[in-house]
Amino acid sequence: MNGLAIDTSTYVLGVAVIKDGEVAGEIITNIKKNHSVRLMTAIRTLLEEVEIKPQDLDKIIVTEGPGSYTGVRIGVTTGKTLAWSLKIPIVGVSSLEVLAQNGYYFDGFISPFIDARRGQVYTGLYGMENGVFKNIKEDRIVLHKDWLEELKSSGKQVLFLSTDMDKHKQEIKEILGYKAQFPFITGNLLRPSELARLGMKKETEVKDIHTFTPNYIRLAEAEAKWLANQKDQ
């Protein structure tokens, strides 16, 4: 089984290839440059390097969100169109779930997060429970302060992982003190090979391609306002 994984949900750009069950290669950059311009070059370069033709692929895996709306759409559109035209299935994986893998062996809670502006973050809670690594609290958008207070009350050690760590580290330390743990700089990036690994395990069917959509977690602002107005009337 050969799989191509694509992640453009944050400003990290990641592409990985699983060939016959092994990680054959991955490309990852952590620079604030345009995904739309660079993604296809990365895919072509990696596939050529590991000697896989598009027609040899059995599965496409993409981060379905949350993250940058535009970023997520670039990955999903590319993935969906590849999958549809190659007649192979596509699977989506939460970008937070991918990030959480960096804390796989951590003894405690893991809170991967992506900045969502105005003091908010996209986050969820992950960790080992009875020997199984799982999603403990589902992905959401939340005021970071409220989320941190909630984590504090659990009394557990929490590992924070984020591409946007600089912006939030101070607040985390203030609220959680010594209960907060931070990774090396390498732990803050979504690894495309982890995305590929997670995606290869997931069941999916070719017929689901058309209905595959990003998971933005949040409504478009105009839509939210419109719904609120409807309620008022």
């Binding site: 345009n34 739309s36 311009v37 660079r38 993604l39 296809m40 070059t41 895919i43 072509r44 598009p54 709306y69 535009t70 759409r73 670039i74 999903v76 559109t77 590319t78 993935g79 969906k80 169109t81 590849l82 549809w84 035209s85 190659l86 391609i209 058309h210 959509t213 990003p214 933005y216 478009a220 602002e221 105009a222 839509e223 419109w226």
Partner: protein
């Protein structure tokens, strides 16, 4: 390339609120032309919301690709190249079409051709009747008002453009002021035919030698006129407001276009863009062209509004001229026509 060789181009267009895919043979024969409009979704907001448009495009893209290819009865082996709108337009919307096109080009090893949206609108006419040069095109839509001069295929010279609102935009704003539903252009056009142009409204001629346009002053004048009448306790019949507004718009568009026709010494005029559906504009332009012996082409409505057949048609010409876009093709919201 020999002339008897069939060239089949798949076109993709997502610059605003229509997800469109078409398959066109030899630049002129439409094998399929599928357009999925989001207008119903945007109506409740009174205009196109970029984020919502982008979300719809992602949801629709592969459905529309599949439908267009099935209707054309082609598979990827039959397709010679992929043409896609690279700009101008809403950046988030453009990115969906561009990235889908790049994925197709990569997966099936096809050449990729980025197309300017306005070049597409112009080439909608090529599908109706083969272009002959030199020619002039009046492009009128919700996002554009331009006079484009062409000496030959693929060469575009913008000799005039709007300095503020696009004509379609002015229609929509006036329609909103008159309490008409979105999109307002067709409603204003229809009302104008029921009313009388008896209200004094300005015409923005700008500098005597300019082919540029300006519609924001006219739009403000309409709003002020309605406001002043209301303060005096008068009720202006909205069909007369619509008729007066439309007459001012058409006066300027037609007069400037005919002056450009004369100055550039062309005998062929094309009308392009969504506002080409406007009955008043069609009538006046047809009459003027008949009077002056100018050959006028106006595409049917389905090819005036945004569609991908026009992108495939323009893409065919560019493909033949050797234009190729690579993996780094991007959505360019401010792309200049040249």
């Amino acid at each position: 390339m020999t002339n008897n060789m069939n060239l089949i181009i798949l076109g993709i267009e997502t610059s605003c609120d229509e997800t469109a895919v078409a398959v066109v043979k030899n630049g002129r024969e439409i094998l399929s032309n599928v357009v999925s409009s989001q207008i119903e979704s945007h109506k409740r907001f009174g205009g196109v919301v970029p984020e919502i448009a982008s979300r719809h495009h992602v949801e629709q893209m592969t459905y529309i690709l599949e439908e267009a290819m099935a209707e054309a009865e082609v598979n990827f082996e039959d397709i010679d190249a992929i043409a896609v709108t690279e700009g101008p337009g809403l950046v988030g919307a453009l990115l969906i079409g561009v990235n889908a096109a790049k994925a197709l080009a990569f997966a099936h090893n096809k050449p990729l051709v980025g197309v300017h949206h306005i070049a597409g609108h112009i080439y909608a006419n090529h599908i109706i009747e083969e272009l002959t040069f030199p020619l002039l095109t009046l492009v009128v839509s919700g996002g554009h008002t331009e006079l484009v001069y062409m000496e030959e295929h693929g060469s575009f010279q913008v000799i005039g453009e709007t300095r503020d609102d696009a004509v379609g935009e002015a229609y929509d704003k006036v329609a909103r002021t008159l309490g008409l539903p979105y999109p307002g252009g067709p409603h204003v056009d229809k009302l104008a035919h029921e009313g009388e142009a008896n209200i004094e409204l300005p015409r923005a001629w700008l500098e005597p030698d300019s082919f540029d346009f300006s519609f924001s002053g006219l739009k403000s004048a309409v709003i002020n006129t309605l406001h002043n009448a209301k303060q005096k306790g008068q009720e202006l019949p909205i069909e007369n407001v619509a008729a007066s507004f439309q007459e001012s718009v058409i006066d300027v568009l037609v007069t400037k276009t005919m002056r450009a026709v004369e100055e550039k010494q062309v005998n062929r005029l094309l009308l392009a863009g969504g506002v080409a559906a406007n009955k008043g504009l069609r009538e006046r332009l047809t009459a003027e062209c008949e009077r002056k012996g100018i050959k006028l082409t106006i595409p049917p409505l389905s090819l005036c509004t945004d569609n991908a057949a026009m992108i495939a048609s323009a893409g065919t010409i560019m493909y033949k001229a050797g234009k190729r876009s690579g993996d780094r093709l991007n959505g360019e919201p401010g792309l200049v026509l040249k």
